[in-house]
Amino acid sequence: MSFKDSLYPRARIPYGTWGTSFFPAWQTSALAEVNIGQFAAESMNRILGLRRVPTAALDYLILGSTIPWHWKFWNAPMLAATFGRRIPGYHLEQACATGLQATLAAAAQVEGHGGDVVGVLTFDRTSDSPVGVFPERRAYERTFALNDVWENFGFDPATGKAMIATAGAAARKHKLDRREVDEVVFYRYQQYFEAKQSGFLDRVCVPLDILNLQGKLMGRIDQDTGVRQITMEALGGMRELDTCVTGGGQTHAADGMATLLVTTQERAAELSPRPEIDIRLVARTETRANPGLMPEAPSLAVQKLFAQTGFTMKDIAVAKCHNPFAVNDVIFSKLLNHDWKEVNRTGCSLVWGHPQGPTLTRSLIEGLEEAVDLGGGLVLLFGCAAGDVGIAAIFEVGDRARAGKTDRRTQ
């Protein structure tokens, strides 16, 4: 490893102060019926409480979500108020890249002294997504009524194609073999259930009880509901919706939230239950694939990032990605010449679903936990997003005592 820069030398992610809800598949849990913003904020408060981080420590809050929610206009200040804190903040979104973008924005906020402890709160509810009504006099329809989730999935206005069509097109371009794609799917499910069995998920996912208006239990969010064991035989028998794309080989819509903190090195040591662990952001990049080839965009982003930093996959201890289509992973394997089995070792969004806003946040949290288990190292996080976008970032999980000495920009 030769690259020693840190993108935001002042920013750190305090180990063990993070958490995520489980991601129940859409329409399968109480989350389908609540204000997801309020749920996310109250859950963040709960998660921080469990991690022994007083919310009074927060001085800024960055939200990330992609589907409109009730009172979204009032943004981060309102959600902070639901747990009793009057702090500033704002909201951002970039489809499935939202979780990573929010983390990067929080790091920038710390770097620019815009806050010493910045909360990242990402969430989405795909269930019963709102329908926007857009008067449009220049359109033949005069007025568009747009179902925010499904109609966006089904139509990229820039290309006129559906998301699923990009997977088929990419599979054709890279001449993927259906059987290999099915093997990836099967393996991804195995990885997930092994992680679950080992108790790994219990360290990142927090069970949450949802109350109805009367204060009675409406539902318990303690499973990635909708995720079931799968067999090669079943996968093989699935109808192709597009080239190499089956119901099993694509993710499903889900609801959920995930949160983490970004802070300074000193505050990270105070807030973390393991102050010796130092987590910093090393590098980031974004790119855009050709029209209608979204599944190859993450691989292109990683290639670009490696070109910038000089790293290779050999330098990476943990690789985690958002893979709405299994074809993403096969393409990555081909372009980076890397065994797809070595990616997403504790599970991924192909399996546990796709609430967009918090997806990459959960992937990041899982990746950082895995790196800590391995004794540290670089964590590569990457994924695709609407518009054939690819995003990638590298984090370093290291030793705090050593960190200050290796950071060129702080010397």
């Binding site: 109250e42 408060n45 921080l48 022994r52 007083p54 009074a56 009057r86 949802i210 109350l211 208006l213």
Partner: protein, 697 residues
């Protein structure tokens, strides 16, 4: 007869300069009367002055306007409400409540005795002099300089006027006037913390009008505010370190201790209440150190007036369950500082311990007053909770911790918080100062009976204490919670309390239950009924409302009075049991009580009976199996299955316990009572609902 007497501990009446209950019984009259005191405070009828309440439209002022107007109107005392021209009408808002309590005619009459005047805060309106102000109750904002200037203005205009401040926080020595600090809700709560050198005519007037003045020491913030602000502070500190939402902390505080401190702030009005709590804690922290230091969120909210509970559209969505370890930590976080604060107040001898205890219960909604809670913990456990708290909040250990204040838990002042006893060598008087019967009252009553027994007193009068208990409402139903799941717990409770009640029947040659005040219901009436004689004041409501909860009376209400009544009166007893409706005392003579009269007559009658000089004969008591219990008739149709189930269970219990000899009846009725408590009807009723709301959170 000897004029001296001895008591287990000082009577709280004595702190008001009113002697003891025994003296009242022996004299056949209460120590003071309202008419004379009104003359003393407001002048004679031909020169009657007025009472002025400044800040009359505020929360405190408007409540006290109603409370004093309704009591002083019969004596021709005008209540002048003084406030700023732009003060919103607080008095008008109280009128519906007045109508609900007194009816439209009386309410209109009471309002007719109220005059409202406006002023600019500095110059008194000329019209005020026409009402001859004699007593000013000041309820203006908690700003010391403004208050002092206000008193100076009044004294200049009306030399000799008596002034009391309703302040919750400023010592009398800082204000330069006496303090009469009332408790929320102000139109109905009767308690006043009084600060004055010696009990005044005003204080005694409050008492004679049925209010509850309690003398307390002159300190920054009085007992109620130390407890109320203290528990709120403890809750906020717990929030600060754990993020537990305010609403959930409130639920846990209610579960383990009784109050909803943060809900109370919102109910009182967050803007004012937040400021008062902050102000109280701020001054206390200056005086006593970090134990009372306000939290950052309280400091913020005293400025913003933000509520603690979320608005309706943000009703809590994510629950917050505590593990058993969390709950232990929580109990330390709340009990620790409260014990330390209580020890501080005991160290400073701020009041009679029974006062301190009662203020916690009556005004701050603690299930057990703090002294009672400490007593049940024991000194060692209480100190260890404080030590554990100091690990959570190390700065609190730095000052104001008087561990030695808990050294004397075995002394009568600690042991008899709710029940006192005195005797003159011949007659004993036992008084209860808690409106509802619970395990503490039961234990203290037993100790009082033992104490009289040791002095070989064979005649006893049992009554309320004429001070802290202005009525006797029955059993404390929170004591039934363990019985909702466990028949043995219910049976044991019933047998224990009944055995105590039976001592009134067996341990004395003569026992007289004296019922005064507004009402005597349920378990308290069952207790009184165990006396050989029952005397009640006219108009007092007597009833056994258990069926409405529903529960089955567990202190022999289903058979004891049948054994003392003529068969012809049994239907009345049965109707009382099965309807749950109260009856005026004078309508129950002969079958429930033995004599009724005015207060003074009742006192004299009770003393005469206890002395053996009364002509009232003791009713026969049938210890055998009773026969011929009638079928209930004339009952209104049961409204709902719950009442129907209650009626059936009570009737079954009455039949079984009346049909058995006295020796067996105790356990029979206890069994019926306990078994019913585990039924769905009881669990769905008021006790079960309260349990779920309070304990199953």
């Amino acid at each position: 007869m000897a004029s001296t007497s001895t008591s287990m501990r000082t009577s709280t009446l004595e702190t008001l300069g009113l002697g003891t209950p025994l003296e009242a019984f022996r004299n056949g009259r209460l120590p003071v009367d309202t008419a004379s005191l009104v003359d003393q405070v407001f002048g004679p009828a031909n020169d009657r002055g007025s009472m002025v309440i400044s800040g009359a439209n505020g929360i405190v002022g408007a409540g006290k306007m109603m409370q004093f107007a309704s009591r002083l109107q019969p004596y021709g005392v005008t209540i002048v409400g003084l406030d700023m021209p732009n003060a919103p009408d607080g008095i008008g808002h109280k009128y519906p409540g007045l109508v609900a309590s007194f009816g439209p005619e009386a309410a209109a009459r009471i309002m007719g005795g109220i005059v409202q005047l406006k002023y600019d805060g500095k110059t008194l309106p000329p019209a005020l002099a026409g009402f001859t102000p004699r007593f000013l109750l000041e309820a203006i904002p908690e700003i010391l300089e403004i208050k002092r200037a206000h008193y100076a203005t009044f004294r200049a205009a009306f030399p000799g006027i008596e002034i009391r401040s309703v302040t919750s926080g400023f010592p009398s020595r800082e204000l330069g006037v006496g303090v009469a600090h009332p408790a929320f809700p102000h139109e109905i709560n009767k308690v006043f913390e009084i600060v004055e050198d010696t009990p005044s005519a005003i204080t005694q007037l409050l008492w004679s009008m049925g209010l509850i003045p309690m003398e307390v020491g002159d300190h920054w913030s009085f007992i109620l505010d130390v407890l109320f602000c203290g528990v709120a502070l403890a809750a906020l500190r717990y929030h600060e370190t754990t993020n537990t939402p305010y609403w959930k902390i409130d639920k846990y505080v209610r579960k383990y201790f009784g109050p909803n401190p943060l809900r109370a702030h919102d109910a009182i009005g967050a803007k004012g209440a937040n400021f008062l709590t902050w102000s109280c804690l701020h001054h206390l922290s200056k005086e006593y150190g970090p134990l009372f230091e306000p939290t950052a969120d309280l400091t913020e909210r005293k400025e913003t007036g933000q509520t603690w509970y979320p608005p309706n559209h943000f009703r809590p969505l994510v629950d917050w369950a505590l593990t058993s370890d969390d709950e232990s930590e929580f109990q330390v976080a709340i009990a620790g500082p409260l014990i330390q604060m209580t020890a501080l107040m005991i160290h400073e001898r701020r009041s009679h311990l029974a006062h301190m205890n009662a203020i916690g219960e009556i005004c701050a909604q603690f299930r057990s007053g703090l002294p009672a809670m400490i007593r049940s913990l024991g000194a060692d456990k209480a100190r260890s909770l404080v030590a554990a708290y100091h690990k959570q909040e190390p700065t609190a250990a730095a000052s104001a911790w008087h561990a030695d204040a808990l050294d004397r838990l075995n002394e009568p002042e600690w042991q008899q918080l709710y029940v006192n006893a005195e005797h003159d060598g011949h007659i004993g008087v036992v008084t209860i100062s808690r409106e509802s019967y619970n395990g503490d009252v039961d234990a203290e009553l037993n100790r009082a009976i033992d104490w009289l027994g040791a002095a070989k007193i064979d005649a006893v009068i049992l009554s309320g204490d004429f001070h802290l208990a202005t009525q006797l409402v029955g059993a404390d139903t929170s004591e039934f919670y363990p019985a909702l799941d466990d028949v043995k717990a219910g049976q044991s409770l019933s047998e224990r309390w009944t055995s105590t009640a039976r001592r009134l029947h067996t341990d004395f040659k003569t026992s007289v239950g004296v019922i005064t005040g507004k009402r005597c219901l349920g378990g308290m009436l069952e207790l009184m009924s165990h006396c050989h004689f029952v005397v009640a004041t006219n108009g007092t409501q007597l009833g056994l409302p258990e069926v409405t909860l529903p529960v089955v009376p567990g202190m022999e209400g289903c058979h004891w009075n049948f054994r003392k009544a003529r068969k012809a009166d049994w239907p009345k007893l049965l109707t009382m049991l099965l309807s749950g409706k109260s009856v005026r005392a004078e309508e129950t003579v002969g079958w429930l009580v033995d004599a009724t009269g005015s207060m003074d007559e009742s006192l004299a009658t009770a003393w005469a009976i206890a002395s053996g000089t009364s002509g009232i004969a003791r009713r026969a008591f049938d210890q055998g199996a009773l026969e011929g219990l009638p079928e209930p008739t004339g009952l209104p149709a049961a409204e709902g299955p719950s009442l129907e189930a209650g009626r059936k269970a009570i009737l079954d219990c009455a039949r079984a316990s009346c049909g058995a000899p006295l020796a067996d009846a105790l356990s029979i009725q206890a069994k019926h009572s306990a078994e019913f408590m585990k039924t769905a009807a009881c669990r769905k009723g008021r006790v079960g609902s309260e349990f779920i709301k309070t304990m199953a959170i």
